[in-house]
């Protein structure tokens, strides 16, 4: 039957409450099993040899000496991973990234791997792999890579999206453009214009759990993979494709995941583990070290962005443009395109144009990081907006309210908005107590807005009514932050039963239909749609069973408060049948009762946020401290408010680290200098204050409960909110992220020198 996802305003019994999460006890007792917490009998340990060069041709690899090391059972190179990608460029990039085929394209690029009985033997074997490199000139900086004299990474890459098509290869892989109206005419109408260039350095998702898996290839063509991942179905497809396995014969089980934020949506070393297992004929455990995670998984883009915004003196923006250059690592992708789409998404603009350029560089392959590409674009735009408001003499919030997108606005990236939350979050910010908190010496306040699309995608759910009336809900979206609790609440809500009677589990790839990964803030949104649909299907079945039991037409049975009830009075006093009652008789009424749903969850609903931040800047050292922080974001409907707050706070904390201290530091030799938590500085507990949150609920019309995705938007505003606060605290505009103390001090000294 078809599923109507339209919003139905209703009073909730379970949704919106704060029960304890079902996986909590395992996690606080150390019993929960993550990627590295699983072992198979006879397993081998894998270690990967990685290029120490940023750019080098692999002249030859000889693994004979390594293979001879006692305890080594298999050594693999690209030769053991034949190209089965059949012209699929994106898949080929994954293959080449997992194991370099002809060139090492970044410091840390995998070139060979060993499986041995213990780590010692594996490490000894790595040292004995004879590999000859021809070192090539490298380029790691986003702007340097676009210069005419830059070393070319790939001479088959010609900038696409440009006419006429260029005849010389380039590190600019593609050009994308969005917008509408006439920006030239718009700038003519402006009384004030701000034009500035910004730069943001590369950051990493920084999940505390390194990538880890246990791979086992059997001689009959079946295989198993235990792995920490945000998308076990995606991993299954990719690994099967790369290794030439039948998808249905590869069973992927997702462990508990110790953080992903987009970095575990694609494979890094898993195909290598499978290749080693296939060659050795034994299970292989591969765990990346922290250094490998930084050097060879998927950080975000480094960017260079030019913004120009013009407004009339009454505060109305007349034109806005952005040119965005984003790095994608050594293989072309669409990060600049996403940045170009999100840049001006918060505003209602008559004339807007954004152009994105994807730049390839000798750095690791970029992966998504929580609202990928949006934070950098928002940093540039929200900083310029702030500067423009200041120039005009308008209050920062009032200026944004005047230009905010609303229902019916044509977005800068194309679609027309339905009901959205940007206006409400701005208004809430205006009246939030944070705005009237006193500011001390060297302190300043800033604010900024942010946006994210949120995604739907392919989703399946199985809801089984057990004989004792409890419910097992099998879902396919990995639980990264507590979604099992939220989905249980939703199942309980739909069925009208107790939260305690619902148990949500994450199914593996052999036991459930395809599910897109947990990304795009889609986990709760999509799987809740599928859960609601599955629950309603189960209710249909239970109504039919009640009708059978009572021997009345099914149309005279309705479902209310967890019970089947007979309509009207003509059937006398039929006692309502509970789920437990119906389930107990299931064997006599037609067999086990279940509800399934397989769908493409559509209409995820965009999510807007406004952040307010107070900072204190030490004028003699540039040291910056966050004094106060508030997140105001539209959730559509907060299924489990504690976990929604957690997403707001977590995203804000990542944004704070990104704004102040996190960056990939490269040497002249193109090597990463800070591949560890000591010098890649994520916020520690003492760096942050309590993070205040305000959840707004503007229902998403495309979800029965109004749910919108919430997980990503909160990383988008912090970079600009903090930059704007620094500007108000110290009197300098920062255009280079992170705003580390040396950069702020240099800006302060430059200002003094004027």
């Amino acid at each position: 039957m078809s599923f109507d996802a339209a919003y139905q305003s209703q009073k909730f019994k379970s949704v919106g409450s704060r029960p304890l999460r079902p996986d909590g006890v395992d996690k606080v007792t150390g019993r929960a099993r993550y990627g590295a917490d699983f072992n198979m009998p006879g397993q081998l340990v894998a270690r990967v040899l990685r290029s120490p060069h940023a750019h080098a041709r692999i002249v030859s690899i000889d693994t004979a000496r390594a293979e001879a090391v006692k305890g080594v059972k298999a050594v693999v190179t690209a030769a053991d991973l034949p190209d089965l990608t059949n012209g699929d460029g994106a898949l080929f990039a994954v293959l080449d990234n997992c194991m370099a085929r002809t060139k090492a394209l970044y410091d840390g690029h995998a070139v060979a791997a060993v499986a041995a009985i213990d780590e010692k033997s594996a490490k000894a074997a790595l040292k004995l792999i004879d590999i000859e490199y021809e070192v090539l000139p490298h380029v790691v900086d986003v702007d340097a890579a676009t210069r005419a004299d830059a070393p070319i990474l790939n001479d088959t890459v010609f900038t696409s999206g440009v006419t006429p098509a260029p005849d010389k290869p380039s590190n600019v892989a593609n050009r994308s453009e969005f917008g509408h109206g006439d920006v030239d005419a718009g700038f003519e109408q402006a009384d004030f214009i701000v034009e500035r260039s910004y730069k943001t350095e590369q950051t990493h998702q920084g999940y505390i759990e390194p990538h880890a898996c246990v791979a086992n290839c059997n001689s009959d063509g079946t295989a198993e993979l235990w792995v920490c991942t945000q998308g076990h179905f995606v991993y299954r497809q990719t690994c099967a494709d790369l290794l030439g396995l039948e998808v249905s014969k590869l069973r992927v089980t997702s462990s508990e995941i110790g953080g992903g934020f987009g970095g575990k949506t694609h494979v890094w070393a898993e195909p290598v583990a499978l290749a080693l297992s296939r060659k050795a004929g034994r299970p292989v455990k591969l765990v990346m070290s922290r250094e490998e995670v930084f050097r060879a998984s998927g950080p975000t883009s480094a960017t260079s962005i030019d913004v120009k915004i013009g407004a009339r003196k009454d505060g109305k923006i007349t034109a806005a443009t952005a040119t965005l250059r984003y790095t994608s690592g050594p293989y072309a992708d669409m990060w600049a395109e996403l940045g170009a789409m999100t840049s001006f998404a918060c505003y209602d603009l008559a004339n807007v144009k954004t152009v994105g350029f994807e730049v390839i560089v000798n750095r690791p392959k970029v992966a998504a990081y929580r609202a990928p590409s949006a934070p950098m674009a928002a940093f540039a735009v929200e900083s310029a907006i702030d500067e423009l408001a200041h120039k005009i003499g308008m209050d920062a919030v009032a200026f944004r309210i005047k230009n905010a997108a609303r229902e019916g606005s044509k977005s800068s990236y194309g679609p027309v908005y339905g009901p959205i939350g940007i206006g409400p979050t701005l208004e809430a910010a205006q009246s939030h107590p944070h705005m009237s908190a006193p500011l001390g010496e060297n302190q300043g306040r800033g604010m900024a807005c942010g946006f994210w699309f949120n995604f739907g995608g392919q989703t399946c759910s199985d809801l089984n009514i057990n004989a004792d009336g409890t419910v097992t809900l099998a879902v396919g979206t990995v639980d990264v932050g507590g979604s099992r609790a939220s989905l249980s609440l939703i199942a309980a809500e739909e069925l009208g039963i107790d939260y305690q009677d619902v148990k949500a589990v994450i199914a593996d790839t052999a036991t459930l239909g395809y599910n897109d990964m947990t990304d795009g803030s889609r986990g709760t949104f999509s799987t809740s749609m599928a859960t609601i649909s599955a629950a309603r299907n189960a209710i249909e079945t239970m109504r039919a069973r009640a009708a059978l039991t009572w021997d009345i037409p099914v149309d005279d049975v309705f479902w209310e408060d967890g019970h089947a009830k007979a309509m009207g009075t003509k059937y006398g006093n039929l006692a309502p049948l509970s789920v437990k009652d119906i389930a107990a008789e299931a064997g006599n009424t037609g067999g086990p009762i279940a509800g399934h749903s397989e769908m493409v969850a559509d209409g995820a609903g965009v999510s807007f946020a406004t952040h307010i931040c107070d900072v204190e800047v030490d004028p003699e050292t540039g040291s910056t401290r966050i004094v106060r922080y508030t997140v105001i974001q539209d959730a559509g409907k907060a299924v489990h408010p504690s976990y929604v707050e957690g997403q707001y706070q977590g995203g804000a904390a990542q944004g704070i680290g990104w704004a102040l201290n996190e960056e990939y530091i490269y040497g002249e030799d193109g090597r990463l200098q800070n591949p560890g938590f000591l010098d890649y500085r994520i916020p520690v507990c003492s760096d942050l204050p309590m993070i205040d949150t305000q959840i707004l609920e503007i229902p998403n019309p495309n979800h029965p409960y109004g749910v919108r995705g919430v997980g990503e938007t909160s990383i988008v505003p912090p970079l600009a909110a903090i930059a704007n606060a620094v500007s108000n605290a110290a009197g300098v505009r920062m255009s280079h992220i992170p705003m580390s103390p040396p950069r702020i001090l240099a800006a302060l000294n430059a200002e003094k020198g004027k």
């Binding site: 040291s623 010098d679 760096d687």
Partner: protein, 286 residues
């Protein structure tokens, strides 16, 4: 690699002297075990000194504190007398790493790791602390600044190890302070570290001063000119300006992933001024 856990100093020095290849002393292990992760690490022997009598003790003699080489930095803050007499040293030692690191790391290990950015070293040097060294031929005592010779290199001979840090009393009107600059509030290696020790006369005039700077040179920098510049003053603004300028001038840092030359020089001056004020107050001046 062999692990040994001797119970006497003699046994320890004999083990170290007898090693054919590289041998390392293990106290807190917070530097050594990190080095062991490296693919290039190669050692014949690790000598755990924590079972030697006295290594874990803080002893108060009539004119000094004797801090055993295996005393974890967390224990320094638990010793009331030490905190009262040398708050700068204790603060410096307690800035190393995290609570977990503090439960293990030692000042002697910090000294012998010979990182230019070691936190306890500028404070110990400013306090004129000494290192008591045990060796196959007996013990010798040297000023702590003679231990680090360059990044990762010490002046210890084969078979020698530090058995204690000795901090002699500095008099009733003395005060010390340590400040460092880090981008985050905790966990970072110092970008600049500044240790100051002052002694005053009854009127609050500076009689002696010692300024030691960390992370601005391959080894700790004893800023003689800066120290001399405030003697005879009451740390008025002019004196502090001169002090700060001299501290910056004495600094000869490098550019690296933690800081630039300009930043380190400038901040050395800023922190020297601030640390001097704190030490002055602790010494009883204003």
């Amino acid at each position: 690699m062999r692990y040994e856990r001797p119970e006497t100093i003699q046994d320890a020095t004999a083990l170290l002297a007898g090693a054919r290849d590289k041998a390392f002393v293990l106290a807190g292990g917070t530097d050594l075990l990190v080095r062991m992760q490296s693919d290039d690490f190669d050692a014949e022997l690790v000598v755990d000194i924590k079972s030697i009598a006295g290594m874990g003790d803080i002893v108060r003699t009539p004119d000094a504190f004797i801090i055993g080489a295996a005393v974890p930095c967390a224990a320094l803050a638990e010793n009331e007398a030490l905190v009262a007499a040398w708050p700068g040293i204790v603060e410096a030692a307690n800035l190393i790493g995290s609570t977990q690191i503090q439960g293990r790391c030692t000042m002697s290990g910090n000294l012998c790791n010979a990182s230019p950015a070691a936190d306890s070293v500028p404070a110990l040097v400013a306090a004129s602390a000494q290192a008591k060294i045990a060796g196959p031929n007996g013990t010798r005592t040297v000023p702590v600044e003679q231990i680090p010779q360059g990044p990762g290199k010490t002046s210890l001979e084969k078979g020698e190890f530090i058995e204690a840090i000795v901090v002699p009393d500095a008099g009733a009107q003395a005060g010390d302070a340590y400040l460092r600059f880090t981008p985050r509030t905790e966990m970072d290696i110092a970008v600049v570290g500044v240790g100051v020790c002052l002694a005053l006369d009854a009127e609050g005039v500076v009689q002696s001063a010692r300024l030691a700077l960390g992370a601005v040179g391959p080894t700790v920098v004893i800023a003689q000119d800066a120290s001399a510049s405030i003697i005879g003053t009451k740390l008025d603004d002019a004196a502090l300006d001169a002090f700060a300028a001299a501290a910056s001038a004495a600094s000869h840092p490098i550019d690296d992933k933690r800081g630039t030359v300009e930043f380190r020089k400038e901040v050395a001056g800023v922190l020297a001024r601030r640390a001097a004020r704190i030490a002055y107050t602790r010494a009883g001046g204003n």
